[in-house]
Structure formats: C-alpha cells, structure tokens
Symmetry: C2
Subunit: 342 residues, 2 copies
DNA sequence: CTGCCGGGAGAAAGCGCTTTCTGGAAGCGC
DNA sequence: GCGCTTCCAGAAAGCGCTTTCTCCCGGCAG
C-alpha cells in the first residue's frame, strides 16, 4: 500500500468532537459510551468512509481474525472441495482465510508456514500435508513449535507421522480395505494399483489398507502390480497407459485418488479398452465430478466438505495445554458403474 | 492469537547486544551495518527463532505483501483453475493471498471487500464478479473508491458495467458467437440454451453472442428456447431435465458453462438420451475435466490459468493515475465428441 | 596538527489502534 | 446536605516495528 491519505480513527474522533478513546469504544460497541456521543461517532465514521486498520488493531489488541490454510494445489478438486468447507466455516466466523498453494513443494510449505507465522494468523491449517521425510518433518516442526508456543493453533487434514497436533483423519486404511473386499465380492481376483508418490502418507495408507485386505483373502499384490506415478490426472493417465501396455490378466484397477482415476479412464478409452467391460476401475475420494463420468466411478467416499469444516472448527476452538485431538472421518465405499461383476 | 510470549525484535537486539535500529537494519539488509554486528544479529535471530511481526511492520513501514481475492466459490472448477494461476504468480512474488468465497451472495462480496480494505491488502482481485444490479454496483463502488484513493489496487476478471478498474476480460461474446457458427456449420438448426442467472454479466454476454450469431444466420432463439437455472452442475442437470421433458425437436444444446454442461450430460444419460447421437451438447470454459467426459465435451476454451495470472499481474503492477487497463483473453472453440454432424 | 567529511550505530518519533488509568459529574443513602 | 459509589469520557501508555535524526569516531586534505 502506498502511503496515501487514509482515514484514521483520529479523523473520526475529531469530526465527532470526541476523544480517540471514546471513538474507539463507540465503534467497538463493547464498553459504555453515552448514546449521544456514540451516534455522533458512528455518523462521523460513516461520513468519512472509515475502515479500521486491521494491522494497528492486531498490534494494539491481541485479536486476529485471519487463519492460514496451506494445500498442495487449489485447483485439485480434492482440495478445492475441502476448501469449500473451510471457507464456509470461515465465513460464518468472520474470519479471513489466507490460502497458499505449495504446488507440492515441501520447501514452499515450510516457507508459507513462516509467512503465516509472521502474519500472526490465529491458526494454521495444513491440508493433505504429510510427507514421509524425516528432515522435512523436523524443519516443519521447527516452524510450528515456536508458533504454537506463541499461542497459535495448528490443525492438519490427514495423518502426520510425528507432528503432535489436532487433526482430521479420513480413514484411508479402512476405506481402502473395504473397497478391496467389495471388489473381491464382485468376483475380482487380479488387481493393479495406480499409486501416487509413496512419500505421501495418504498414498501409503490407502495402499496398505488395500493390500492387507487382499492378503486376508489370500491374494498377494506384487510390487509390479503397483504403478507409481504423479498424484494428478496426467499421472493416472500415464500409469494406466503403462499398465495397459504390459497388460496381463488384471481385471480391476484401483487408482488411489479419483483424480488419477479420471486420467486412467481416459487412457483406457483412448486405448480402446472399455470400462467396465474389459477392465474395472475404482477410485478414492468421491470428488463431485466422478458421478458424472461415463461410467460413473466406483470409489470410496470421503465427506470432503466436512473434512474442511471440521478442520476449521478444530483450528478455531482453543486448544492450548490440552492434548491434541483427532477427528476420524468415515470412508465409505460407493459402488457405481465402473466396476463389473465377474 | 492469545497474548503469549512472542520473540520480538527487541529480544533479538538485546541478545545481539545492539540497538533496535541496528537489528532492524541488519535483518532488512538494505542499509549499511557493519559485518560484525550484522552477523551477530542474524545469529541471534536464528537462535531465538525470531519471526518479524507483519502487523507491526505494515504499520510502521508502508509495505504490505498480501493481496485479496474474492470469488463465488473456490470449489467450482472455473474459479479453482483461475485461482491456480493467481496462486502461482503470488508465490513468485512472495505475496500472501487472502481468498474469500462469497457463495454467490452479493452482500458478502461487499463485506469481504470491506474486510480486505481493513487488512490494507495491497490489491483486491474480484473474480467472476459482475452482477447486473445498480444498487449493488453502487455499494461496491462505495467500498472500492476509498480503497483506491488510499492507494489500493483493484483488478477484475470479467466485465463490469460501471466499475472503472483494470480488468481481464475473456471474450465471452465472440466465443459464444464462434461456437454458434461452428454448430451451424455442423448442420444444427434447432437450438436450446441452458443459461445461468441473467444478473451475471458473463451469462448475458454469452447468451447475446450466441443469439446474435444465430440471428445472423436467420435463426431466431425464442425466449423459451432459453432455460434459466442455477450456475452449477445441479442447475445444468435440472435445466436439461426440463428441456428433455418439454422439447423434442432440439438437436443441439448450449450450456453457458462447462459445469452446467456436466450436469446436463448426466441428466441426458439418466433420461436415456444419448449425447451426441440423440442430442448434441456444448459448453463454455474448457475446465480441465471436460475432455475426460464421455463424450468429450465440445466447448469454448478460455485460458483459465492465464486469466488468473494476468489478473494478478495487473494487481501487482502499480496503476495509480493511469487510466484503467483491459486485457482481453481469447475464447476459442474446441470441437470434441459431444456434438454430432448432421 | 586542526578541521571536516562521511560512515556506522544509537535514540527517538511515530504508524493507528486498544486499554488501562484517571478525573469529573451525577446519583444515592444517611 | 455531605461523602460515597457509579458512570462516562479523556489522557496516555504502549503493541513491535521502520526510519529519520543525531551523534561519535576515524580518516583525510589543508
């Protein structure tokens, strides 16, 4: 902001012919100010189009009305949907949200935490964070720890290995396991998994849940049944192409996110492979658009918007001293048309 | 933030055994500080995990590193994709983005502008704003005008009737007209339009462009060829149902946004109507997912990410005094499988 | 050897608020 | 009617920084 004339509380006070203190009190309503003076102040503020300087306010008082939210990519439907819940709760509580996209760069995540700390955000939300990387975890903790000591609240969506903070955890393991069982029930026996990078806890959890459930049924998932690729539509697309190229007797493909499944679906179509007639496909997340695909995608539904809402509520509610809370969110299998009964 | 111990510059100065002024200078690098003292300050800051208080900084100096972005709904792929561009440019310039969702409530839009003004955001971006409503325009201008006078920058994505600010304007009219001509070339003569609320300038522009191009070809678009509905997937779904229920002679449907088209596509499928065999469908925006639909959607492509980037650049670049700039963005027809040749 | 100039470091004045603290004018009981 | 509590409004002290302004010191020309 360039230093131009800005209406200040002093201007208001002068116009209303009262002291600064009175003007402040009148505008904040709380403490007692006579009705005459109050009206005069309000009128003056209105007339001058006065807007309190949030920085001065934050400095003087101790109230902040901003929270910081860090995610990988706002344009990913998974985050966008969670963000919707976050924004709703923020709106209800008159909070301003500072949103940052790391574009999946752990370094940036830490840089943003630092910036948010400088802004004295009253809370920081990490959405879908969680890298399986010791050095990164330490660096993050080094930022977060002084922040919390200073009274900042922290909440996380998804599991973190070492961070001891409030979190909202979708039940990735159980959801993936349930999905595996559902697919087994439909008669499938030969599976492949399109996975994202294994440094993400989310990927690891879903993979493990899926694999374990198969193992329980006496079916092993070999290492080369898992194709690792980017956590994006294109990643899913590439992985599916690879799978189809060296295609064996796989009857069902599990993409660890719906976004990847979408790419996979198109890859199949491009290769002239019909889903579900030639091969079945399932995803995870239940982002809004998957029911509009053809075929509608079988997936594991996460209450994404609620994930965001819950995280925001955790972040708002004061939690100093108490031990960290964990809110588990259900992950329910939704069978649609993309999986065939064998 | 609750008033807890917070490391301040004074703590750093004391630890480094220098004055506040020196500490400040050392940390900001600009002015001259002897190497010995500078290193001592840096070391102290590091040791104490010092983070400058952005509020104090903003108050004392005049620099802000935050911009405000207001959109209807972060979870809408249209905004989410634009937001991606915004976030990228923000990241490159070390800016923090305060993102607000109005959930399509004009009142909230104004309330958020006010909050952003209080935060002394260095710029405010309005994405996809633009209601055809005089009273609302006035109220918005009443917030924006003092903000700009105070040195704030404003930029808008999409057309505003009266607001004289920098803007990035997709060529909605021309794009819709081109689409109409492309559809005519493919042999279509009986059209219907699934429109969003007409108080949005975007809807009006696209509708007008489409209608005018048809008129040029001697084809009239009657009032009841246009079905007005919500600007969402469900809006498109409902509109398509209505259309299918009462009209059977239409060969091609134009949904004014891809999101609506997605809903329409599913509505058709549910009604047992094949796209494009029984009816053709076209959208507008080219949000990422539409190429993955079956059939892939014919649409008018907007460079969404670039829209966001451009808007952010406009907002960053100083524009006091100069007249408002307008960046036009192309809207190109992309023919895919959802439209049949007759 | 004296006088100046310049660079590096400290003192201090705010930035625009909130919030004690203080003081004056009513209002009350006795 | 006097001292007491209340209530209201003003004065003033910061919040944590940046940024003059000032001062001190060494180095250089005269």
């Amino acid at each position: 902001m360039t230093g131009r004339p800005h209406v200040t509380l002093e201007d208001v006070a002068r116009t209303a012919q009262v002291s600064l203190a009175t003007a402040s009190r009148a505008l904040n309503g709380a403490t007692s100010v006579g009705p005459t003076l109050r009206d005069r102040v309000l009128a003056a503020a209105e007339e001058l189009a006065y807007t309190p300087n949030a920085h001065a306010r934050a400095l003087a008082g101790s109230s902040h009305q901003t929270v910081g939210v860090i995610c990988h990519d706002v344009s990913d439907p998974y985050f966008a949907t969670i963000a919707r819940g976050v924004m709703r709760v923020a709106g209800e509580n008159d909070l301003l949200v500072m949103l940052a996209s790391t574009f999946r760069d752990p370094q940036k995540e830490i840089a943003y935490v630092s910036m948010l700390r400088a802004q004295r955000a009253s809370a920081i939300l990490l959405i879908g964070s969680g890298f399986e990387d010791r050095a990164w975890e330490r660096a993050l903790a080094a930022e977060l720890e002084p922040y919390r000591r200073g009274g900042g609240q922290v909440a996380v969506v998804s599991r973190h290995r070492s961070l001891r903070v409030d979190s909202v955890q979708p039940d990735n393991r159980a959801g993936a396991a349930d999905l595996a069982r559902a697919l087994l029930d439909l008669g499938h026996r030969r599976f492949a998994v399109l996975a994202g990078p294994r440094r993400l806890t989310t990927v690891v959890d879903r993979l493990d849940g899926f694999r374990d459930a198969l193992a329980d049924a006496g079916i092993a998932l070999a290492d080369d049944d898992v194709i690792e690729s980017g956590f994006t539509r294109d990643g899913g697309h590439a992985a599916m192409r690879e799978l189809l190229a060296r295609r064996r007797d796989v009857t069902c493909v599990f993409a660890v996110t719906d976004v990847m499944a979408i790419g996979a679906l198109t890859a199949a179509r491009e290769a002239g492979v019909s889903v579900p007639d030639d091969i079945s496909l399932a995803g995870f997340d239940d982002i809004p658009v998957v029911r509009d695909l053809t075929p509608a995608l079988t997936t594991v539904a996460l209450p994404l918007e609620q994930l965001g809402e819950q995280a925001m509520r955790l972040a708002i509610r004061d939690n100093r001293g108490k031990r960290s809370r964990v809110v588990r969110m259900p992950a329910d299998v939704v069978v649609r048309d993309s999986v065939a009964r064998l």
